[in-house]
Amino acid sequence: MGATALRNGPSPVPAPIDSIVEVRGISKTYGNVEALRGIDLDFPRGKLTSLLGPSGCGKTTLLKIIAGLIRADGGTVAINGKRVSAPGPERAFVFQDFALMPWATVTRNVAFGLELRGTNKAEREEIARRYIAEVGLAGFEDKYPHELSGGMRQRVGLARALSVDADVLLLDEPFSAVDEQNRRKFQEDLIRLRTNQNKTFIFVTHSIEEAVYISDRIVLLSPRPGRVSQIIEPEIDRSGDPERIHRDRHYLDTVDEIWQGLKQYVE
């Protein structure tokens, strides 16, 4: 196993000392399809946790339940110990399809969360400019979304989520509509950003490589019904050159291990 810590079985994992998001007994059924059954999970503060699994395992549904965008049929979600069932200021969402307003400039899109909260224009644009620079889009403040590439658009979505200063960032397959080269660059930037911003990330992906590359903790979900099948904590040193991670032995071993586990669900 090397440095990779593995915890097997569907039984609830003992709660880490400081968990910011606590999911208890979440279930969800669409018609007669059971999307999620009895999900118990804890998300440690300041870490990046990935929800990984084949399509149909309910990972996006779980993320949207945590976000308060979908109502669960049973179970509870607590953020900082408080039960939530609707969106709140302590969470911010990054959408798979970017969800940018095509009629608004990059600055207005990034500042939109603050605009809805009634922050005055000068202040929110100041904050927006800071996060636009943070995600590497300085100079594009007055562009419209259609003038940007897919990768740049998702950077706008990320800056919008960062600018409302939420504790938890929820990312729903943020790179799936971004081309491969941009995705690699974006993943590297996300690793750097994570060390700068003291935030908790919950990240949904179907890419094993992506999950292992960026996550402190990977929650493997199995499909029909969606359940937690495994929790993996890859212990990869991400402090140096991000390029080196792809050649790291632990990285390669973990990817292979997860693939062996997931293989059975792929028809």
Binding site: G68, F93, A99, M101, P102, W103, G113, L116, Y144, V164
Partner: protein, 275 residues
């Protein structure tokens, strides 16, 4: 987006086909082409008038001369003063009422069931047939003319707004909710801007229909304003004056539509400017 706006422009341009180059042409074409198109149109008119196609068909140059004559003796100004009142009132009322009603129906199921069928029938019906009835109920004054404008303009505005609001981008609604937008903020900051291209297409068609309504009312109900000027010059066989009057209202209608498009791009969809 730019593509759909252009098609909408084409659709609106149909209402005033003689000047369609002004509304239908894409904005990035050089101005020269548009001028050539107008010159070509004037040339064909001139030739057709000189053949002549009909003894009642004046040449382009005669019409232009007649137009300045009408301007000089003030009869055009007097006519427009009387026509523009019910037209502007009717169009403004239709725009506000239509967009509000359409938005409510798009957001609220019950409203949709109550209101939308009426407008679907109204849009399908030859509403001009209602104009004598409107005269019968409201007499021959300003009210009847305003109503004539509204029954023609309102249905398309309501239906377009309703459809646009109903088909608003779902993921933007979710985004607004996740960033804690209130219902009012969702309507004002997401739904209306997102729906604005289709709403404006409806407004352009509605305004064009309003022009039809007011001219119909003046031809059928009260011999006043532009309608009267057309009838009067026809009865005196002043065909050049008659055509000048008709051309002037077509030009005004076109200019109004162009102005509306300018407002739309300026205020609601800045990203489509020059795109």
């Amino acid at each position: 987006m730019a593509v759909s706006i252009r098609t909408d422009g084409e659709a609106a341009g149909l209402a005033s086909s003689s000047n369609r180059s002004a509304t239908g042409a894409s904005w990035d074409q050089p101005i020269l082409l548009r001028l050539v198109s107008i010159a070509l149109f004037a040339g064909i008119w001139e030739v057709a008038g000189r053949i002549p196609v009909s003894f009642a068909f004046p040449t382009f140059s005669d019409t232009v001369v007649a137009f300045f004559g009408l301007l000089a003796d003030g009869s055009l100004a007097t006519a427009y003063l009387s026509t523009l009142q019910p037209l502007v009132l009717g169009v403004v009322l239709s725009a506000f009422l239509g967009v509000s009603l359409g938005t409510i129906c798009g957001l609220w199921r019950t409203g949709e069931w109550l209101v939308i069928p009426v407008f679907i029938v109204l849009q399908a019906a030859p509403v001009a047939a209602f104009i004598p009835m409107v005269t019968f109920v409201y007499g021959i004054g300003m009210t009847a003319k305003t109503l004539a404008v509204m029954i023609l303009a309102l249905p398309v505005i309501v239906l377009n707004t309703y459809k646009a609001v109903r088909n608003v981008n779902e993921s933007l609604l979710v985004m607004c909710r996740s960033f804690l937008g209130t219902n009012w903020q969702t309507v004002a900051k997401i739904i209306l801007p997102d729906a604005s291209p289709v709403i404006f297409a409806g407004l352009r068609l509605g305004v064009a229909a309003g022009f039809v309504g007011v001219v119909l009312a003046e031809l059928l109900i009260t011999p006043t304003g532009i309608g009267d000027l057309i009838t009067f010059h026809r009865s005196r066989a002043d065909y050049a004056e008659m055509y000048a009057t008709i051309a002037s209202i077509i030009a005004l209608s076109t200019l109004t539509l162009v102005f509306l498009q300018w407002v739309e791009v300026r205020v609601f969809r800045p990203e489509s400017r020059g795109a």
